[in-house]
Amino acid sequence: MREHGTTSQRMPLEGDAPLEGGAGRLTPEELRRSLQIFREKLSSDEVAYINSCVRCGLCADSCHYYLAEPQTECIPAYKLGLVTGVFKMYFGSVGKVFPRWMGARRLDRQTLEAWVDSLFGRCTLCGRCSLNCSVGLDVTRLIRLARSTLVSVGLVPRGLQSTVDTALQKGNNMGIPRQEWVETVEWLEQELRGELNDERARLPLDVQGARLLCTVNPREPMFFPLSIVAAGKILHAAGESWTFSSENYDVTNYGLFSGDDDAARVMAERLVESMERLGCETLVLAECGHGFNSNRWKGPQWLRKRYGFEVRSILEVVADYVREGRIKLDPSLNPDLVTLHDPCNLVRLGGVVEDQRYLLERSSLHFVEMVPNREKNFCCGGGGGQLSMSEFSERRLSAGKIKAEQIRATGARVVAAPCHNCIDQISELNKHYKLGVETKTVCEVVAAALVTEG
């Protein structure tokens, strides 16, 4: 259990000039509250990181924002400095007395505006800088901490906040009513039966005691229903005991991006509730990078408890089917050159590194890696909630140039991306940079190579 140290310092926050933007409306009381939240979110780990940064700047070209736009404001150490400066001002003994000397800064309206612009607008929380940091600082964690502070004063960009609000109010981030989800599953089940020519094929709903409870990204029923059919086809071929839930099936958790721990806790708890209600053994997370990080790693932390069930990515489950001979694949059914994008939250921050490769190597005739790859891969630019923050979309596309160049260098026709945020971003990059590729989930590639009876 986390313990708190001394209570937040009471430093004067008033007196800074009002701004036109969102922070301009904040009252001195709200500013004080933001400092209080900042303090409450700090743990010893963050304090250690803050005391470790030497501002060497070697992290600069590990960031896709900096590579696309080489400005100081895009250097991770600069963005981090916006956060560490506040710590030094209120919680560092020397910074209080000699703020200029130590690079300390007040948590005022200007700082909060700078946080919104830099920490929401120039960061995807991909963690590539942390991996390349000379010291090994978890930059992502400190930036998310600052985002949490912005939540407390209502300074989360509107699009991102609205995605969180929709999920909280409607049960999923697309606001799909329960009946519509049930009907979509029924319709897709007919599609699956038609495709397999097998009346026994099912997309089961609310099956008590099924071994696996599968989740979806709500973008799938809305825009990519074939990815649900692909997953269903594989699970059916493996003879798996599985189910969807008619409620609380959303794998996404935009609280991770906005920094809203309370909202994130509610969303994580919903999947736990579905697991307990249906009595399943394993929670299977759909191909969704941040959904994996949220539910596999952060969920237990948000809920402050160990889960009594397994949490796995569908990629891990399907890779096991291939290893165990439960499904057979014919790579010649995917003759195009396929490459793989590594979603940051699944790979660098999630640890699912090899299973997707194992699957693509066995389900496509020609598979080629991007360079660099695995945990060293570049972010596509769509993470950290960027796709929902329209005010930063120009920067997002510009920062995606690095990924576009990586894809083009492979010469691939198909980009497999086990994450729907990444798929959306790569689809936009495809149009913007005229890459001429097709984006698919890994399960779609595997399903196309599936050898079915009859």
């Binding site: 986390r2 708190h4 140290g5 001394t6 743990s43 010893s44 304090v47 250690a48 990181y49 005391n51 470790s52 940064c53 030497v54 501002r55 060497c56 700047g57 070697l58 992290c59 070209d61 590990s62 100081t72 250097i75 150490a77 600069y78 400095g81 003994s93 020397v94 200029r100 000397w101 130590m102 690079g103 991996l131 390349n132 940091c133 000379s134 010291v135 090994g136 600082l137 978890d138 596999r296 790693w297 952060k298 969920g299 237990p300 932390q301 809920l303 402050r304 160990r306 889960y307 921050l349 999630g350 640890g351 590194v353 890696e369 360079v371 660099p372 790859n373 695995r374 945990e375 060293k376």
Partner: protein, 211 residues
């Protein structure tokens, strides 16, 4: 003069150690978060990686891309360590054998050159300059001077009072400014290893294609 400065070095180093200890206690007072998620990999292997292979340019793109700066950083810190050991030996009035003295001369000289290069880099390159605050320059100047004076003494056996004086200043400044990373670096590196190790991200067995 020198006996007085000798005491100053002892006192300042005591102040440094006690202050760093207080800093650590204050840091721990913020509390730690418990990790409730089931591990996927080995936290121990992650920590070993963090202090071993994970520091190498082969593993770290930033080090590979900035090999000269990375090497300067390693050399600088080697020089600082040598200066500290040299200081301790002087305080103990230990007579160094000639080959060992030559080794110290080499390490201290290289350390000074590397430190001076890093200072110039911070002053001359726009990005590092904009990232820096006065504390960064002060820390670099102070420590580089300490290494330089160590090198001078090892070569000509002169300037001992100045070396002791600079050492005193360094010890007094360590807990106040960025040099405190001498302790927090290890803390952060352990956290790095725990994070990537427990999640099964690092160490990766498969060989990566280099960027």
């Amino acid at each position: 003069m020198t006996p007085f400065l000798r005491y100053a070095v002892f006192l300042s180093s005591g102040f440094c150690l006690v202050s760093l200890l207080i800093l650590l206690i204050k840091t721990f007072a913020f509390g730690r978060r418990t990790n409730y998620a089931k591990h996927r990999g080995s936290a121990v292997r992650g920590v070993l990686y963090a202090f071993g292979r994970g520091m190498m340019p082969t593993e770290k793109e930033s080090a590979r891309r900035h090999l000269f700066t990375y090497s300067a950083g390693v050399t600088y810190h080697g020089g600082i360590l040598a200066a500290l050991v040299y200081l301790v030996l002087l305080l103990l009035e230990y007579e160094l054998p000639a080959p060992l003295l030559s080794l110290f001369r080499l390490l201290l000289t290289l350390g000074f050159v590397a430190g001076f290069f890093l200072l110039l880099r911070r002053i001359l390159l726009p990005a590092p300059r904009k990232l820096s605050c006065p504390d960064d320059f002060a820390a670099n100047i102070l420590v580089t001077a300490f290494v330089l004076l160590g090198a001078v003494h090892s070569q000509w056996e002169s300037g001992l009072p100045l070396f002791f004086l600079t050492a005193t200043a360094v010890f007094l400044y360590v807990p106040l400014g960025k040099i405190r990373h001498c302790v927090f670096f290890f803390y952060s590196r352990v956290l790095f290893g725990l994070f990537y190790g427990s999640r099964g991200v690092l160490p990766q067995e498969k060989k990566q294609e280099a960027a």
